[in-house]
Symmetry: C3
């Protein structure tokens, strides 16, 4: 039975805890490597620096052989379907594929005919489960729990891959979710159960975690809905608004950041910001997810650096 | 003396048998690795998923260091010649190059000034020797011989890199080749010796191997010669036509497949189809070819998994 | 304290000698490898074959893990700044970055906020320190000294990344620099101290090293300033002009070469030419630079092939 990761919502609470624990192990120096040569391919049909590089680093740390795939030189240009592309990679010996694609739920039919695990690295406006998991890891790292933690998700919720799946996972884990942002980007009548809407200032004041979403210019078909400065003043985390935050509250952002839009330039690396910590955690999360997907295949070798001793912190 | 692979027609029958035998060894688990770090580069000037990825997997399985080359960011954009590009790669320590290029016989002058072996991964409408070899391997795997085997090559023979070189190799190996397809895509007066023309239905009925060729829209300068459905009905392997095939006959296709054009969608993975088996075999063929090109360099280490014993099946 | 390489002019004479000596060690078979997995990324925002591939080979020879970065699929397309891109790579565990960028001095602010070393692989019309170093290595290889050596730098000096930094380094090392080429491409009033201008024929006659510069069509905004043949006759190294050279003088060119423009086609690989030797040396220089940048991190392992004994030649 293959294990793969398509959406956060299909992960049980137990699976989430298991992945976070495994990622925490990697964060403190644990290593794992599958037996023999294991091949993986990262199929990114949309631009990405951090997600793609993060998977690459995770894969190399696990000792995997990464088979490059470049959309611009692939047979996709000759009209090949995604199924045939993935089926081909499977035929030539790839053991798992990581896919980012602009189509929502690109995997809904795909994964049935493919016997190797698919790790979803983002589908259209749909899901981005490893991003959700790294957000969860960063929150847990800070507060050592989810129960009672208030997370304000602010911004372009309609177009965000992570807003809804994060809300879903967080509420299942016991946290409280607050949505905020422009009315036109929040579907108020269909607010998920357990979630609440607040004005931006109230959300920032209330939250333990201020999770800003990226204004995704590239998904608005070229329409400019807000001037940058206007958005920043109304809905962004300005220097002034940051002062409303509680003493130990932290800032998250999935990046890439539009500096001076979602967040003031000078706050990107301020002491509350966990933005670059999120990126670091992303590598550990992806290691944990890949390990879980690949370990059924042929076992693998658990390494612990000989000179290290620790209590699993999670 | 360097050994390289430019065209199938320059391979002797003995060399073909040697490569197929070596590939069969890799297929059943044999391994080989050159001594020390050996560098290779894949220069693909045309889109490709399977050939490029297949070479990549083969190279990693042999433990080679693959130096990435992306046409879009190369000095070819500054007008550098192919010779200077390859000569550069040689100067910096590359031990062999794999090249796909849109120019027929791009290698005719090139290979004289270059001292490292060139593996041709496709030149214009010319040759594609590793594809030919993997076709041969797949046929031999099925029938354990070539003598007397009837292979029908159906479709766009004029634009096909593999049709003519396959026909040449197959007849030299003792098989019988039947050409079929649209009149305008077969040069009847110049049919190679030992080859025969048949109507599609007769060819399908007669053949042990039905080898469909890809309709290469990208090589027809944008001219549409056939509507997809019309081509499918007249020359494609429809569900109906498949019923004309002999009990043990098999289907080959070099892929990427135009589903519903050369072959009915539901036949791509039917029990007669060896299309994905061909892809798998492609990795072993490329391992065998690379081994043959590199082994003169510095020896290499023959590994056999300790827990395996076999009679070389070939 | 991190060591990084941004410009040649910031290198002391001692550092230059140290790098050349280390590179010479690599040229004669010495090896070095950092402890554990070390990650590096090559960020090339401009086309390049040889510099990028040369870094790749150098990195693989040092056993580094190279995280691919393709501009065309990066978040730079979403408007991400260079700082955020590099900061991201740092966050996910990259230990050093190699950057080529079209902006002069792209690193002037960047390197302050980044704690990992940056190796400059070319900035706009500015610097290209590893190219300068490989030129120096090739000269020293030939003459075993710099003092008194006359180097004629001929061509497009205004747009050249290496002309000025080479002139600076060469004079500091004791060599004598002669500039030559079209008036409009040399800023005569601002000729660097210790440098001299000569007509092309005189420069060729006088020099121990004839260093031709590439006519960089791609940096002239599409303006054609010279017909190719006219440039070749007036300022290029023609077959006739080569006969003016002293018996043991050599030819350098940073490549890619415009054959028949800067240099006659038949001279590119003539016995005086060190053009492909320069490329080979580039790998050793980059190994030396990377070693110097990475060795502070975590030590590293000095290997010497057991079967080799040598006197360090430098």
């Amino acid at each position: 039975m293959k294990w793969e990761l398509l959406t956060t919502s299909k992960l049980s609470v137990d699976e989430i805890h298991e992945i976070l624990e495994s990622a925490t192990g990697f964060a403190i120096g644990e290593t794992w490597q599958p037996k023999g040569k294991v091949f993986i391919s990262n199929l990114f049909f949309e631009p990405s620096t951090r997600t793609k590089s993060s998977f690459e680093v995770a894969e190399r740390k696990l000792g995997l052989e990464v088979i490059p795939f470049e959309m611009q030189t692939s047979s996709v240009l000759k009209g090949e379907t995604l199924y045939d592309t993935v089926r081909t990679l499977e035929a030539i010996g790839t053991d798992a594929v990581v896919i980012r694609h602009s189509a929502d739920n690109y995997f809904s039919e795909l994964h049935k005919g493919i016997s190797i695990p698919i790790i979803n690295a983002g589908d259209g406006r749909g899901h981005h489960p490893t991003q959700s998991l790294l957000d969860l890891m960063t929150i847990h790292q800070e507060f050592s729990r989810f129960t009672g933690i208030k997370v304000a998700i602010i911004g372009d919720i309609l177009h965000s891959r992570v807003a809804r799946s994060n809300a879903d996972a967080l509420t299942r884990l016991g946290a409280k979710v607050i949505f905020s942002g422009p009315d036109s980007w929040i579907n108020l009548p269909e607010l998920p159960e357990g979630c609440e809407y607040m004005e931006v200032d109230d959300a920032v004041r209330e939250a333990d975690v201020v999770m800003l979403l990226r204004v995704q210019h590239e998904r608005h078909d070229g329409k400019v809905l807000f001037e940058k400065e206007a958005y920043h003043q109304q809905f962004g985390l300005t220097a002034g608004r940051e002062k409303l935050m509680k003493k130990d509250s932290i800032i998250l952002h999935p990046a890439p950041v539009n500096r001076g839009v979602e967040i003031a330039n000078e706050l990107v690396e301020c002491s509350r910001s966990r933005i670059f910590k999120q990126m670091e955690n992303g590598v550990y999360i992806r290691m944990a997810v890949l390990k879980k997907a690949l370990q059924n295949k042929n076992g693998g070798i658990e390494h612990v650096h000989a000179n290290q001793k620790w209590q699993t912190a999670y």
